[in-house]
Amino acid sequence: MSTAPAPAADARDRMIEALAARVGQDAFTVSRFRHNVRVDVPSARVFEVLKALKDHCGCRYLAELGGADFLKYPGGPRPGRFQVHYVLRDLESGLPLIVRTWVDDPDPTLPSAVPLWSGADWMEREVFDMYGVRFEGHPDLRRILMPEEFAAFPLRKDYPLRGRGERHNFPRLTREES
C-alpha cells in the first residue's frame, strides 16, 4: 500500500460551493477523512441543507440514513448525544457526501427527510426504533424491528446488551396445558 495521495478536487467541492451559495457559509462545517467528505450541520438547519443538496447541488439520492450513540464515548465534548448521518450520493459522479447532525437528550428530535426522499421512511423508523430519535413530520413513525410493545431503545449505550428481561417476558406453556 502506498501512502494515500491528497484527495484530488472532485465534484464534491463544487457541491459544497453551491451549498454555501444556497444556505450560507455559516450553516455547516466541512471535514474530510480519507475519501469521505463530511458536512456537519446543526439540527435546526439540517432539513434546509438536505433540501439544498438535493435540489441544487446534485445529491439526488439518499443512500443511507443511520444513527449512533456517543454516550461516554471518548474524544471530547460533542454538540449532542446522538449523531444522525445521511449519506447522499451524486448520481453523476457516483461520489458520496455525508451530512451529519447531532441531537441531544432528552427528547431528541429531527425534521423528517421523508418529504425529500420517500426512501427515508423505513430508515428513519429504524433510527427511531434503535435510538429513540423522533422525526417530526414522519408519516408513520412506528417501531420497525422490535415488537410494538417493546419499551426501550436497544442500541442506546445505556441499555444492557442482554436487555432488561424482555426476552424472558413470555408465558410458559407446559405439556399439560398445551
Partner: protein
Amino acid sequence: MALNPSTSPAGGLRSGSDLIVTPAGEPEVPENVFLTTMDSVVSWCRKHSLWPMPFATACCGIELMAVGASRFDIARFGAEVMRFSPRQCDLMIVAGRVAMKMMPVLQRIWLQMPEPKWCISMGACASTGGIFDTYAVVQGIDRFIPVDVYIPGCPPRPEQILRAVMDIQEKVQRGGTTFGNEGLPELRARERYMLAQRSAAPGTGIADERGDEDRFGYRLPGGPSQLGLEETR
C-alpha cells in the same frame, strides 16, 4: 422347529400348538395372535408416521432440508411428510434461533398443533440461545414451550437429526397413549411441579433482577438464587 423335525424329542412331527403352555383356567391363545395394549399399538403406528412441522428460522433449517432430501432421507423413519400447517403435524422441529418477536408466534403454532405432539429443539440456538446472548434472542425455547429432545451442534449433522427422530420414536412408544401424550412417566412429576410453580408468587427465587445472569443466560446452582423455574419470570 417345524423345519427340523429330528430335534423333536419324540422323533415325530409336532404341531406348534403343542408348544404353547396353557395355564390352567386360562383360554388358549391361538397361533399368530398377539396380545398387547391398545396404547402400545397406537403408539407403534404413530411413531412410524410422524408428521414434522419445520419451524426453521436459521441455518439449522438448511440442514433440516438435507435430512429431508435423498442422501439422508428422513423417509426411512416415516417422518418425511413435512407440513407447513401446524394443524396437520405432531412433531415440531424448532431449527434455529428464536427472536423475542418470534416467540409468541412459536407458542401460537405450538398451541395450534393437535394432541399428541412432540417437540425437537434443534441446534445450539434453539436450545440455549447459542452465541446470540442479546436482548432480542430467547435463551432456549424450553423456557417457554415443552421440549422432548435436544440436538446439540451448530448446526447439527443430519445423522444427529435422524438420531433425534429415533429418540422421539422411542419416547412416543413409551409415553404416548391412544388419545394423548402423557409423556415419560419419570417426567410427569416435573410437569406437575412446573404447573404448581405457575401460581407461585413471582420473584420468590430471584435475589436480584434478571439483568445479572451469567454469560449463558442461566443462573448457576448455588448462585445468588436457587435454580428453578422462577428464574424465567
